[in-house]
Symmetry: none
Subunit: 241 residues, 2 copies
């Protein structure tokens, strides 16, 4: 892997990209995950690679929901595992929610590799999907869940979710919190709370809010309004200098 | 590889994605190439996956420059080789420019695989980078060039270039023509002529212009103005349902 000089104008983005590439070598990320990461890079680029008020407000709402959840679960795929292993483990401990490995393309080996990776980063409560517990009506491998995890969760925090399962969970009455750089995606539009931000910035920021912000505010929250603001930012013409 | 039904709403995009994934299996595309393709997918999606006037005007200018070049070279990386092998070979023959294999991440095997792939598609003049000929001051593997190719070129046509080398070539006085779906990228902004389009559509369209359009027009060309129009189009995406 080429060493990236820290003076490079695209250093942060290239550093993250390297993590994803290493994830493939480690059997954690899929090739489809690489392409998905590229799509995320494009949206992040257009958004100016920053965390905006619409993301912070969604995080604030997420904090409120996570703090009052009875059975919160964090659903982790390959990209999340390689991009933010330390922060996702930390989040899991703070909100006392298990990390449930759940991936779109079926691969037992990759599920185990993800679980091992999370444990190496300090995770104490990692659940694997069970072939006996299925969300009926879903096509993708995401339908297999753990009976002690997503199957009985009242709140699912799932960065980088897919549209089908998101719709399914919401229909089932589960509260879904997601992180998605595309404010127009089905996941973004279906979730109860959409944090339009890069997971690399969003998870640490969410932890910071969790640890340092009182949650007694009664400010109302509209995900639709959040997404409209995010889309406006995405459309805001910058310049080609 | 999953068979994609031709009735699928994303058929064209998924077909292209399959080419790139097969390119990895054939040792032609790198994992970084997959991520780059994902970025391209997102930009193309937002642009409505179409070829616009700003792309055609840039192609028209490219035709003029290529027809009057003394030593034109086509710089080919893994993604270009798997996405448009036939058209890039055809372009090489029409403008009598060698195809020079040049990739960002060092890999002798991948360079040879790309050259073989191009030859299988009819290429007669393929150059490989030489470890003796280096563009000094560049960090990436893109610095190694062929003494009969990029090293002495006055015009480099390089779809999917990287920002560093593009800046380098331009500083050196070489005229650079690129194809880049991101009008904000360093490459797009540094090149003399930026065709903001998908290579899959752009190379055949360029060939069509080359064969069928007289070049005696004196219409002035501003790449900056082209990029502003492309960015406006990008930010004005319609609905992604």
């Amino acid at each position: 892997m080429t060493e990236i000089p820290c003076t490079h104008p695209r250093f942060a983005s290239l550093k993250i990209r390297t993590l994803i590439e290493e994830g493939v070598a480690q059997g954690i990320t899929s090739t489809a995950g690489l392409i998905a990461h590229g799509r995320g890079e494009a949206f992040d680029y257009l958004l100016g690679e920053d965390t905006y008020d619409f993301a912070l407000e969604a995080m604030y709402e997420a904090v409120k929901v996570l703090k009052t959840a009875k059975h919160p679960i964090i659903s982790v795929n390959g990209n999340t595992a390689v991009l933010v292993p330390d922060s996702i483990v930390k989040l899991s401990k703070i909100i006392q929610a298990p990390l449930e490995v759940n991936i779109f393309h079926s691969s037992k080996e990759r599920e185990v590799a993800i679980a091992n990776h999370l444990q190496k980063h300090g995770a104490e409560n990692v659940l694997l999907p069970s072939s006996d517990t299925e969300l009926t009506g879903l096509e993708s491998n995401r339908r297999f869940v753990n009976p002690e995890g997503i199957a009985k969760a009242d709140v699912v925090f799932v960065p980088l979710e897919d549209g089908d399962r998101c719709e399914y969970l919401v229909k089932r009455g589960v509260r879904v919190i997601t992180v998605d750089l595309n404010p127009l995606s089905r996941t973004a539009r279906t979730s109860h709370i959409t944090i339009v931000d890069n997971v690399v910035r969003a998870i640490p920021a969410l932890i910071n809010l969790l640890l340092n912000t009182p949650t007694n505010s009664s400010k109302s929250f509209s995900n639709r309004e959040i997404l409209i603001r995010a889309e406006k930012k995405l459309r805001a013409f910058s310049q080609c200098s």
